[in-house]
């Protein structure tokens, strides 16, 4: 059985059929071929698969694909615009060395995007709280927190 779903992916209308047992992560990576979203555990623990659904950061590996119908989905592929310019959060991750192996990075970035939309001037402790669902085994999280703080500062003052 396959279920038709319509949703908006990174600003584009998408219509596909999905099997009921598939997750949003499967839909993105396998059906759409968008491999920027990573799979680290498939059990909702690592956060590598984080995408933003209707403004909320979710673990796409736990999100049933059929339920995506009617939503707006933002993934790492939707962040930087055509001419290769990085979005503010991405640029900050680059500048502050918020990435090492990079496997956790798309998920970290998406969590940060949803978080900063809600809380544009966070304290470090709030950033740390927001990141608890995103594991990173390479960095000590310090530079990731700095990157998010840098993005927040730049949104207030682009010269920062």
């Amino acid at each position: 059985m396959r279920i038709p779903v319509r949703f908006e992916l990174n600003g584009h209308a998408v219509e596909v059929e999905v099997a009921p047992d598939r997750t949003l992560l499967d839909l993105l990576r396998d059906t759409m071929g968008e491999t920027g979203t990573k799979e680290g555990c498939r059990e909702g623990e690592c956060g590598a698969c984080t995408v933003v659904v209707d403004g909320r950061a979710v673990n796409s590996c736990l999100f049933p694909a059929p339920e995506i119908d009617g939503t707006r989905v933002l993934t790492i592929e939707g962040l930087s615009c055509d001419h290769g310019r990085l979005s503010r959060v991405q640029q900050a991750f680059l500048d502050a060395s918020g990435t090492q192996c990079g496997f956790c990075t798309p998920g970290m970035v998406m969590t940060a995007v949803a978080f900063l939309a809600e809380n544009p001037a966070p304290m470090d402790t709030e950033i740390r709280e927001a990141l608890t669902g995103n594991l990173c085994r390479c960095t000590g999280y310090v530079q990731i927190v700095e990157a998010i703080q840098l993005a927040a500062r730049r949104s207030r003052d682009p010269q920062a």
């Binding site: 920027g36 790492i76 594991l135 085994r137 000590g140």
Partner: protein
């Protein structure tokens, strides 16, 4: 002519036999001696690209999701493989029935022992009928989708006749223990004894003797990216291409070629990006062979990515160690004897990374004797995990040193300072860089260790992430086991410290080629790999420096056995110290030739020219040509340079040393430990990129914190089943566990180590973190906490048994 004497072979290259050190192991190798190596970059070298905090060259790919990892590789008509694993720890497989799985939708093929050549992994046979641990691969299936493959793997029927198993070291060495290996449950090299001096005499000379028993847990690498491979055969199945998440493309190539009976040049291994390794990705694994074999059978590309469960039960671990340690010292703190006995619970395989090797290195002592025993048990094999052996041994030794300090009523820092060895005691030679003392003193100053003043303002201005400690909280620290009450409740504050050494000098063989493109940019080719450590960026900096080009004009291509010259595994913190000099040599050669070509065009002598920022200028600064001007005029004449890593000097020892200081808060009612801050100072020689070095330091410290507080793989002794095989139960540190970290490297260079002056930094920072934290907990509570991780239960137990 002795083995060491170089022999002229063709006038350009010379080959010598030398000893290369890898993760504490020494290997004798024939290596190539470069005709002439560049003068070392000394203290006063004026470097413009090396030493700069340049963001990672591949960061843009990573932050946009465009960096491709193994699971992102898609090949035409690619199939997906899933592994069927044993669910009991010991027994004999009587039947594997794949008919149900083969009939499932989308399934294309299935393999068991009968279908494959005999392949040895970690001393065990792939798909062996003898089951030796839970998680052991016994069969594999492949299907059109990964989901179909996973579903099919579930319905493969495996019948195992159960046998008795051994789960612990004690079980393994019991008189009538069931055998894990036919040769016995104790590894052949056991007991492995290392001795210097005479410990009986040393102990008899001691005024104080302290004894302790320590235990470090089995720990799992838990890289965010699981192991994986994509295999594709070309032509009629005689050439294999493998995309693999690996720390060693050439090693995987050789192992796969051997396993499948191919000549090496018929296997090409490519590694583009990988999501961390930490030692677990040094070799071809079951997934590699499964992908390759299924691809050959089906005539289609096959991707085999290990799922998280498989990753946690079958891709290696840091083995549990139990160490008995006796330290003897004179009243003034001088060590007279170190005696250590270790027991290491290996699992079904792995190599013998001595937990007591560090006892021979870290502190000066004439009389040292260590005995290591390694036992096989029915659980997954040991594999290298960031500073294998030294992490375990440092915990015992540094806890022991604190116990000794207490017994002698000497400040723990002073005790260490008075035992700094000052030389490589095992080999009787000086160190190329002897800066353990400097690390200890600088760390103490930055930390504000009692009696060691921090320069005014340093702590507040240089401490990072200043919000980890509540504002206005008094930081009161005491040495030597005092208890501080802070805030409400019974929250105890304490401080502790520990030191570290690790051989991270790198060595041959390692090669690099640099080719200058017709637009004046340069491509660096080397068969090393970037695990996420920053190798690409750092090598680009070294290349740009030696070429005299702009950093942006250099591209680094790594990790392809067919297209890049040989470099070894990225292990033992040796990548930069091994490959960096080869890259520099290649760069110098390209620059020399470019200047020769430019001299022709400028009608001057090459020696009158210098290169900087991709521009060649005459000495008097009057005439310039850009690299692109020169290469443009050369047309398709190609300038290339070749570099190789020469042998290390034998008259100096190469180690990276460091010291870390921790402050903790312990809740005396719950046993909860919170690390408040860590100060780390390490000497890794020249730092090529301080931004990336910072990442390595912080990452290592946080892995050390995980080992100190949370991480422990638990196997049920009765059933032999791992109880925490997921990321939910096996806890790695999260963003909330991170303390204030002030981590730094000494601003030095090490021209005796190699001509770029750098040593390795990947493993050293994890070594002292756990003992520094444990020493701080002991200082806070007055209780001996000699078993990791310091879970609330263990800490409470230690407190209660101390004050009962």
């Amino acid at each position: 002519m002795t083995a060491e004497a170089p022999r002229e072979s063709d006038g350009h290259r010379r080959f010598v036999t030398t000893v290369v050190e890898v993760e504490g192991r020494e290997e004798t190798k024939v290596v190539e001696l470069p005709v002439s190596e560049p003068e070392p970059w000394g203290e006063d070298a004026r470097l413009t690209v090396v030493g700069r905090p340049i963001p990672r060259v591949d960061a843009a790919e990573k932050v946009t999701g465009r960096a491709r990892y193994t699971a992102d590789i898609v090949r035409p008509r690619m199939l997906h493989a899933a592994i069927v694993r044993a669910t009991i720890p010991a027994g004999t497989i009587s039947e594997i029935d794949v008919t149900g799985a083969m009939a499932a939708p989308g399934v294309v093929d299935a393999i068991t022992l009968e279908d494959i050549p005999r392949i040895r992994i970690d001393g065990n046979t792939l798909f062996d009928r003898t089951v030796k641990y839970v998680g052991q691969p016994v069969a594999a299936v492949c299907a059109e989708t990964w989901q179909a493959a996973l579903a099919a793997a579930e319905i493969v029927r495996v019948t195992i006749e159960r046998a008795a198993h051994v789960a612990t070291f004690a079980d393994a060495i019991a008189a009538d223990a069931p055998l894990v290996r036919r040769s016995g449950n104790v590894s052949r090299s056991s007991p492995s004894i290392m001795e210097r001096g005479n410990v009986e005499r040393g102990l008899s000379e001691a005024d104080v003797i302290v004894r302790g028993a320590y235990r470090t847990p089995p720990a799992l690498h838990t890289a965010m990216e699981p192991h994986g491979a994509v295999a594709e055969w070309e032509g009629v199945g005689d050439r294999l291409t493998l995309w693999e998440s690996t720390q060693g493309v050439f090693r995987v190539r050789d192992e796969v070629a051997t396993g499948l009976g191919l000549s090496r040049s018929r296997v090409r291994v490519i590694k583009e990006h990988m999501g961390g390794g930490f030692g677990a990705k040094n070799s071809a694994g079951a997934h590699t062979f499964i992908a390759a074999i299924l691809a050959r059978r089906t005539g289609r590309a096959v991707r085999c990515v290990v799922d998280r469960y498989g990753e946690q039960v079958d891709t290696g671990h840091r083995p549990e160690s139990r160490i008995h340690l006796t330290l003897g010292a004179r009243r003034d703190g001088t060590l007279t004897a170190i005696v250590a006995d270790s027991q290491v619970t290996m699992g079904v395989g792995g190599w013998e990374a001595s937990p007591t090797a560090i006892m021979h290195e870290l502190y000066g002592c004439e009389n040292v004797k260590t005995t290591d025993v390694y036992a096989w048990v029915h659980s997954q094999a040991m594999d290298s995990f960031r500073a294998p052996g030294h992490v375990e041994g440092a915990f015992a030794l540094e806890r022991g040193m604190d116990t000794l300090a207490r017994a002698l009523s000497i400040d723990p820092l002073r005790l260490r300072l008075s035992n700094v060895p000052g030389r490589d005691q095992e080999k009787g030679r000086p160190y190329s860089s002897d800066r353990l003392r400097e690390c200890l003193v600088e760390g103490a100053r930055r930390f504000g260790w009692p009696g060691w003043e921090a320069p005014a303002g340093l702590q507040d201005s240089e401490m990072r992430a200043g919000d980890a400690v509540g504002d206005g909280m008094v930081r009161e620290v005491v040495a030597g086991g005092g208890i501080v009450e802070a805030g409400g409740g019974r929250r105890l504050r304490g401080i502790g410290m520990a030191a570290q050494v690790w051989g991270a000098g790198g060595g041959p063989p390692a090669y690099a080629t640099i080719k200058l493109n017709s637009d004046g940019t340069a491509d660096v080719l080397s068969g090393t790999q970037d695990l996420g450590t920053g190798t690409r960026t750092v090598l680009a900096q070294i290349a740009a420096e030696s070429l005299g080009s702009r950093f942006e004009d250099v591209r680094v291509v790594l990790g392809d056995t067919e297209r890049t010259p040989y470099a070894g595994n990225s292990w033992g913190s040796m990548t930069i110290a091994s490959v960096g000099p080869a890259v520099r040599m290649a760069g110098e050669e390209v620059r020399r030739r470019l200047c020769e070509a430019a001299a022709e065009m400028l009608e001057c002598r090459p020696g009158d020219l210098s290169a900087r920022g991709s521009v060649i200028s005459t000495r008097d600064g009057t005439r310039h040509l850009t690299f692109a001007d020169v290469t443009g005029k050369l047309g398709n004449v190609m300038i290339m340079g070749h570099g190789s890593r020469g042998p290390n000097r034998r008259d100096v020892g190469l180690v990276t040393a460091g010291a870390q200081f921790a402050e903790v808060e312990v809740d005396a009612e719950t046993g909860q430990v919170r690390v408040i801050r860590i100060v780390a100072v390490h000497d890794a020689g020249r730092i090529i990129n301080p931004l990336l070095a910072q990442s390595q330091l912080e990452g290592g410290i946080i892995q050390g914190l995980g080992l100190a507080l949370f991480e422990e793989r638990i196997i049920d002794r009765a059933t032999g089943v791992p109880l925490n095989p997921g990321m939910h139960d096996y806890k790695v540190p999260t963003s909330k566990d991170v303390p204030m970290i002030d981590a730094t490297c000494l601003p030095v260079t090490d021209p005796q180590a190699n001509h770029i002056g750098a040593r390795g930094l990947a493993e050293p920072p994890i070594i002292p973190t756990a003992p520094a934290i444990a020493n701080a907990v002991a200082n806070a509570t007055g209780a001996a906490v000699d078993e990791l991780p310091l879970t609330p239960r263990r800490v409470l137990h230690a407190i209660r048994s101390t004050y009962a």
